[in-house]
Symmetry: C2
Amino acid sequence: MTDSRGPRIREIPAGEDRERLVCPDCGFIAYENPKIVVGSVCRWDERILLCRRAIEPRIGFWTLPAGYLELHESTQAGAIREAFEEATARIAIDGLLAVYDVPHISQVQLMYRAHLLSPDITPGIESLEVGLFAWDEIPWTELAFPSVEWALHHFHDGLITGDWTPRGNPSGLGPEER
Amino acid sequence: MTDSRGPRIREIPAGEDRERLVCPDCGFIAYENPKIVVGSVCRWDERILLCRRAIEPRIGFWTLPAGYLELHESTQAGAIREAFEEATARIAIDGLLAVYDVPHISQVQLMYRAHLLSPDITPGIESLEVGLFAWDEIPWTELAFPSVEWALHHFHDGLITGDWTPRGNPSGLGPEER
């Protein structure tokens, strides 16, 4: 869409309690909902799969394979699909790693822990480069998003402690600080 | 909206790989995403809060306080809001109880465990009746949705075992069977 068509007027429809995006041409009300991002921290032995982004936002920075859940898709199936799309990685899910709230962009992220079924990976269309990184090789200063760093640390904590209780946002960070 | 306006034609837009809902009047593409439901199992001593639905679907059946996450809302804030909207219940969140995939209706449900800050509850506009139920008083045959039963059992298991590791869908139930 462009800005000049489609739902683009903010008003409170009759019978509602908050503003919605309405199309002045056809009257359609576009209900906006938070989006679900599904992804994974995938290991091969002691190494972790990262993908360098070929798309905005944060093009050129490293991320975990993750993306929007599709309709009629389970969250685990979505995480498996994203790993394949971004790195042609075939993975198996080991459990839920973390649930992150990112309300300022209306996202909820479900991150799984997983292992690669083979070390054969190649960049998908949304990746410039993919790689398997040992812990001390991770490009910490070139990570795409805060939640990538959270997930890597939560995964590492789990490996060390054996406690795989799913994590949430790092404590001490309120919604406004993220 | 009615069926006669707004996005209503299914076609694959240029550059995309799957059908989207497009408005033939203005060209707007309505991207459809799975929705996030947030809710809670709220206790007051040994009793659990249930609400009898005043709205479709499943009007007249009992449910846990839950509903769609709003934009720019954290999942815990959404669960707290829903308990207040449906039962004027003031609650505090104790942790994540479960994540349920319901792909046939494109929902992901995040259910929290919580406790009431006071036993003062009254039906909100979406509830016919609200109540605090001991385990052996729960109206099992009049529950609104399968996930309500799952969450009640997962909560009860946690109370008995002390293990609050978040649960997923009951094992043995594939997406097609739910």
